[in-house]
Symmetry: C4
């Protein structure tokens, strides 16, 4: 039997596919749950490793860490390939939110061969922790999450319009402050981009204090900007609050536990995008 | 044919006016859309030029920038004159919000001949970017914008009363802190205006940290001011939230795509203020 | 005619009383309006003088300012006495909110003879500016103000309970941070009151940055406090928003334009507390 | 009569138990009210002592304070034992919220023998001040408190989901900023945990300013993070506001004045958890 035949055999091995699917995508079975918990632990270990990597001085006990990181990446790569293999609709999985995150969380290590700092991007793996809801059967929590996202999405356009106004406002404020403050010797308002950065820091009430006005006129204008920021901070809050209160309740949405997409028919038992089984 | 006759001829050239109107005010036709996109690009280039102007050291490649800036200003001036020329009601356009912004965005360059820093005021051009909604036919986005402005306007008087209270409160707090802190040697509370500036920075929770209390009593009073600010930050949010929730829905307003004014009759096809065609 | 007789005569001079009342308490008549505008200008001048007093170095042109300040204070004292004299119910006026503010705004100058820094307290005069609403017949604005105060009062008890929790929380957080951070040499967490001050600065998201954690554990705990503050900032906002939305509308309250008290009968034409005429 | 007999006698002394219960748990009787007020004063004195302890240099007048502290602790210990003794259901009291707080507020002093800094933990006694509501018969205030807690609890799951998203977001933002900023010499972004700490400080709009971006790209990314924080600050506010407005009113809950638990039947006169008498 040639390699090609073996390959075709493997690809058509429905039993193996089904078994893998049960382990990887399901979390009801013992094997599935064990796999999910192990996966979460691996992701956490991997993130902690990355964070430690930035803390310690190089060449100290790093060999073990490098080895561990590669082992974890090999495991995650194998998992990604297996997910693609056993998914009833591999393309849909690959293009789903979690499919893209799964891919993005293994790429940085391979890119790290060529570009060192890219390695740190493996913290993108932390997004995969959202799956934690699935392990602990916290679907109702996920439901709350979807509600939040729905509320934000419903007011997405309002927020976008609001941001365009904020960006224009910030450009104007930044320039005016630059004109007022930059004449002072030793002023931190060295150029317009810096002044715009200051305007954002002030308007959002963050207020680092690395750039502060010195002139009386600058301070007066800052005060106006602050009181303005104080008022317009109310706008996004008002938008989201209104959206949350107006959200129709009780409209239970069937969301796929794997790819998170909704819009399934009432009777559907499998996700029409990635083929995962839907919760009743 | 004398100059005066030619001028009268031009002014009464209805076909030319109509053609110009279609290009400048409309965005449905191919020519109109191309013009709008070109205009947006010019505005963006102009803003980026101004920002760069503040970044680079003078006398370095500035000749090109100066030339570009003048070319853009000539283009914007020509556009403003054309808008005035082809508008069915030039006076209404000149006094509309966008008419004033269009004028304000060309003036600073001419003022820059006499006063150097006035040149930076051309960032006022950024306000013209609001027209971006028109190009991409994002009228529904504009609708959201009007909704936001309506909500804020509806609660404008409440916010104004609130601000008067804040201003009086800030004057009192600033003076008390000046009395408490200024006796300490090396205190940053050098005078009452500085103390009022500190009170605004604290009450709005910006908190730069350039002026901070040192005495125990001053710190205690600051804590009270902060907790006060924490509570009264709720007031504008409550006002705007309540206003947004109480806004009657479904009352579609016909807004002019050019000057943005509303109040048109149901059957109106042209804006009664500037004569632009209204969207169905 | 002896002095006593003259005095009794004066006190019973109804015509003078009525005339003074029309000038001082009313703002409908020409004389009344002129008086009110003059009063506002005097208050503003007085506040600006006080602020300038803190700015300039002493012994420079201060003689004029001192004279001006005393002239203004004599005027305000005369006004206060006149108000007491012509009010139909002097005691009620003296104990009303504006009566107390009027008294407090002249006292500091007299106290300033004995205690220099007390002079700055004359900024309390700024509270009198609230009367500005009356001059410009902005009673509907005042209505908005009462609505705001009603909303805050309605949720006053909830906010008080919330503050008790915040105070207890802040004491606990401050002490824990003191225990964690104070062991570090050169730590700004020198004692528990300072740490409590830091906790308030952090929890209210003011964040001066004069006291910041250095140890990893301290930074971790700070992060928790910040996220906590981020969530509990929502509580007062929620309280006030809910209160504003639940406020019954249309219940027009008759408020006295002079002392600001409500609770008058529908048919009342004069305030039952200070005797001022009520607006229809 | 042997010791064991005496003990049994004491334990079964119903009259003594009842008397103690009236003093310690009740606040209606004169004795009960006096006890409660004395207790509050002792707690306040104890907290003030602890705070002073951190302020003064050691060996100065500390002997008196140490003696006072031990006396107070002996009193609190005796009170705790008495509460356990006279409670109809000692186990329920010991496991109730106030039972645990009462125990925790005496433990640190005993732990202080072995570990010095543990002594400061006695500020946990401040939590006992919540009982202040009971003394002043401010049950309706307590009612408001429960309403607040109910509102927060009702949206607890939404807030938890929100926090998971914030934690993941903060890890990603922190790492990206570390990659961007750490290459700059003298950058405060020394490692990923520090960068995550910065991300939390920025996203919550606290903005200490101890760690600030220097590179243009870092400042641009910070601006995006700030505007993001500005928007997502609206989410918890929206959650709590919506929850407060949707809370069914008028559903009076019977809460135990001692342990604070609810869920009692309408006719119940004693708390089913700790046996305290319920208010009508």
């Amino acid at each position: 039997m040639g390699i090609k035949e073996r390959w075709n055999n493997l690809m058509s091995n429905v039993a193996l596919k089904r078994k893998l699917y049960d382990i990887i995508f399901e979390s009801d079975t013992r094997a599935g749950k064990t796999f999910d918990v192990a996966l979460m632990i691996c992701i956490l270990v991997s993130i902690i490793l990355t964070i430690f990597d930035s803390l310690i001085s190089h060449h100290v006990g790093q060999t073990i860490m490098v080895v561990l990181e590669y082992l974890l990446t090999i495991f995650f790569t194998a998992e990604y390939v297996a997910r693609l293999y056993c998914s009833p609709n591999p393309k849909a999985y690959a293009l789903s939110f979690f499919g893209i995150v799964d891919l993005l969380s293994i790429l940085p290590v391979y890119l790290g061969f060529f570009m060192h700092s890219a390695r740190f991007m493996i913290v993108i793996r932390s997004i995969r922790l959202i799956r934690i809801f699935r392990i602990f059967k916290l679907f109702s929590f996920l439901e709350e999450g979807y509600m939040l996202i729905d509320s934000i999405m419903a007011s997405f356009r309002k927020i976008l319009v609001f941001f365009l106004f904020v960006v224009i406002m910030v450009i104007c404020i930044g320039t005016i402050m630059f004109m007022v403050e930059s004449t002072e010797p030793g002023s931190p308002f060295t150029d317009i981009p810096t002044s715009i950065y200051w305007a954002i820091v002030t308007l959002t009430t963050v207020g680092y204090g690395d750039i502060t006005p010195i002139t009386p006129l600058g301070r007066f204008l800052s005060s106006v900007v602050m009181l303005l920021g104080y008022t317009i901070i109310a706008v996004p809050t008002g938008i989201v609050s209104a959206s949350m209160m107006n959200r129709p309740r009780g409209s239970k949405k069937k969301n796929c536990p794997n790819c998170g997409r909704s819009g399934h028919e009432e009777k559907a038992t499998h996700c029409k995008y990635c083929g995962s089984e839907l919760e009743e």
